[in-house]
């Protein structure tokens, strides 16, 4: 009755996600002329990287057994604050430091309220996110101004290059970041505590893992990476926009789940999330390339997410959990 262990494991799910990304890309290449042109591939890489940066926090939050709905609001917050402060003539390094501190604080509050009072993080992060969004709107009076520094624009530009390699610096930097995150998840006390807390909070408490501290660190990291995505998006689009993060609300969750991380916590990997982000980017590009209306692209995306997750992201039957 039970699924063989090798098929059920996270590793198989990650492989599945990678396989589907490759298949989607082959389908795109066959169906749409120019789908595999260097420029198109570079564009998809950049888009997938931006999404994956926003997904770092969602992966951590979901592994610990929570969820972070404040990500789109923090993205918008960082996006607008960076543009506004830089536009006012502040040194960009200082701007980034301010945003980093503020976002870490926002995330720590999310984690503290969720874990400290035992409230579902879905509601806490939604409430805090709404407050953040409102605050940014009050501060800018609804009309954010300012622009991105050239360095950031160049860093994420699709036409950029690293020495002889024709990709912007974002790509190699992201690969290093991913390696670091995977290392932290698999080889450090923090990573082990994260998985332990996600798979069995009671046992984790007995193993002297402080849940409040872990939740605060994890959600602070989540907000930090969301803010990073917000600053990178500022470079990508060129001007500030408070709602720039909105598509990322559900896309981050979808990418994490397609990548084989279980929403109940305790299982998952960042490599899977990266594959999930690539899959989502491929689907989007493919559907737009096929000439679908934006509204139909959305509908098809929903259908594909359901199909993919029903292929290899299924939960166990309740009888198998006893």
């Amino acid at each position: 009755m039970r699924v063989p262990r090798s098929l059920d494991s996270t590793g198989a799910r990650v492989l599945g996600a990678i396989l589907i990304a490759v298949l989607l890309h082959l389908a795109g290449t066959l169906l749409i002329p120019g789908y595999s042109s260097p420029f198109a591939i570079r564009a998809m890489l950049v888009l997938a990287c931006l999404l994956a940066v926003a997904c770092v926090g969602q992966t951590l939050a979901i592994i610990i057994g929570g969820i972070d709905l404040s990500i789109p609001f923090v993205i918008g917050f960082a996006n607008v604050v960076a543009a506004q402060l830089y536009g006012d003539g502040m040194n960009f390094v200082v701007v980034c430091l301010i945003i980093a501190v503020l976002s870490l604080g926002i995330g720590a509050v999310n984690g503290a309220i969720s874990a400290g009072l035992g409230i579902h993080p879905l509601i806490v992060t939604l409430g805090i996110g709404t407050v953040i969004q409102g605050s940014v709107l009050v501060w800018t009076k609804g009309f954010p101004s300012g622009s991105a520094p050239n360095a950031v624009t160049k860093f994420v530009s699709i036409g950029g290059s690293v020495g002889p390699i024709p990709v912007p610096w974002l790509i190699p930097s992201f690969i290093v970041l991913s390696a670091l995150i995977i290392l932290v998840l698999n080889r450090t006390p923090y990573g082990r505590r994260l998985f332990a807390l996600g798979s069995n909070p009671r046992a984790a408490a007995l193993a002297l893992i402080n849940p409040l501290r872990m939740w605060m660190i994890t959600f602070a990291l989540s907000a930090f990476f969301a803010a990073g995505a917000g600053v990178l998006l500022l470079g990508f689009t060129g001007s500030a926009y408070g709602d720039v993060g909105q598509p990322y609300l559900f896309q981050t969750i979808a990418a994490v789940v397609i990548g084989g991380t279980a929403l109940v916590g305790g299982r998952g990997s960042f490599l899977g999330t990266v594959a999930g982000a690539v899959v989502l980017t491929e689907i989007n590009t493919l559907l737009i390339g096929l000439g679908l209306q934006p509204s139909l692209v959305q509908a098809a995306l929903g259908l594909v997410i359901i199909l993919l997750v029903s292929l290899y992201g299924r939960e166990r039957h309740v009888r198998a959990t006893i």
């Binding site: 709905l69 579902h120 609804g142 559900f250 509908a299 259908l303 029903s310």
Partner: protein, 328 residues
């Protein structure tokens, strides 16, 4: 599971008040305070003669909150984020397809269509979440995207108008659909299914071991959620009096906030429709009061988020104190 704790504590002194307090939490107190503030700010708007319109204004939010509850009660991440888009889809089909294109405006056709659409969406969600076993937030996110996409394709721009009988649901008869929802839920509570749902939500493994058909119970909870979402779609249609694809989706997250505010545990197995309704009225009154004192929508958003977090924190703190008092 909750049913047992309730009966055991009810006979105590002040049992009823305590029971309500624990079931719903902080929300009713907030409701009274907000009601007083609102009446003080604008007595005319809250005069009995305007109750019909007032309820009509709050109805879609209350309906969305009621609709979100059954799926959440089922536990293990049970949630339906497609409630808002389902309301929008009902709105589009009723006004664009039935009334405008086919010229059908009889209540029988429209009400039956809305209910059937709701049931169908709920059945799909329930099938995906309970039998295909896709994590509910992802499964319903899929239907969320599909419904929004299809609705926008049917209805690229707002249009149309509604027959007079439907307009009365935004005036004198605005309470009727809400009463219908509560009657249906009252019926559900009379049958064993209700206890099975609460048991599944509290501890699905224990329930399964005790012979509860857990997947079927969860499936039905989504069907009920869909049915209520269909009714909420009618309320929305009555309120806006036309077809508009862009209004409904935003109800999803506010409804889930309302449900949580009303003391329904997002982990399942605890809470009920009355709590969800009170939570929704709270949110409506917060928005109403802030609009009455003429703050900008930006400040409204900050206040709304802050009150939500504070209210839910207070409920959690009060729960802990209760639990500590019970241990003693």
């Amino acid at each position: 599971m909750t049913a047992f704790t309730d009966t055991s504590t009810a006979p105590r002194s002040g049992g009823l008040v305590r029971a309500i307090w624990r079931r719903i939490g902080f929300a009713p107190a907030l409701l009274i305070v907000l009601l007083i503030i609102n009446i003080w700010l604008n007595p005319v708007r809250f005069a009995p003669g305007n109750w019909g319109i007032l309820i009509g204004l709050a109805a879609p939010l209350i309906g969305a909150a009621l609709a979100s509850t059954p799926a959440i009660l089922g536990g293990r991440g049970g949630i339906d984020v497609s409630v808002g888009p389902t309301m929008g889809f009902v709105n589009a089909i009723v006004v664009k397809v039935l009334i405008t294109d086919l010229g059908l405006s009889s209540p029988f056709v429209i009400i039956v269509a809305a209910l059937l659409i709701g049931l169908a969406v709920g059945a799909v969600n329930g099938f995906l979440a309970a039998y295909v076993r896709i994590q509910p937030i992802v499964a319903t996110l899929g239907t969320y995207l599909i419904l929004i996409g299809v609705t926008l394709t049917i209805l690229p721009a707002p249009m149309g108008s509604v027959p007079d009988w439907l307009k009365t649901l935004n005036g004198p008869l605005s309470i009727v659909p809400l009463v219908v929802v509560f009657l249906i839920w009252w019926g559900v509570r009379q049958v064993p299914y209700y206890d099975q749902l609460m048991a599944t939500g509290s501890d699905d493994r224990a329930a399964y071991t005790a012979g509860v058909p857990v997947p079927f119970v969860r499936f039905l909870s989504y069907v009920i959620t869909g049915l209520f979402a269909g009714i909420a779609g009618l309320m929305l249609t009555a309120l806006i009096g036309s077809a508009d694809a862009n209004i409904a989706p935003s109800y999803t997250l506010i409804a889930i906030s309302a449900v949580a505010l009303g003391g329904v545990s997002l982990a399942g197995g605890r809470g009920g429709l009355i709590g969800a309704a009170i939570g929704a009225v709270d949110i409506f009154l917060i928005q109403s009061a802030l609009t009455l004192i003429n703050v900008s929508t930006f400040v409204l958003q900050i206040a709304y988020g802050t009150i939500l977090v504070i209210a839910i924190s207070l409920t959690a703190i009060q729960d802990r104190l209760e639990a500590r008092a019970r241990k003693r």
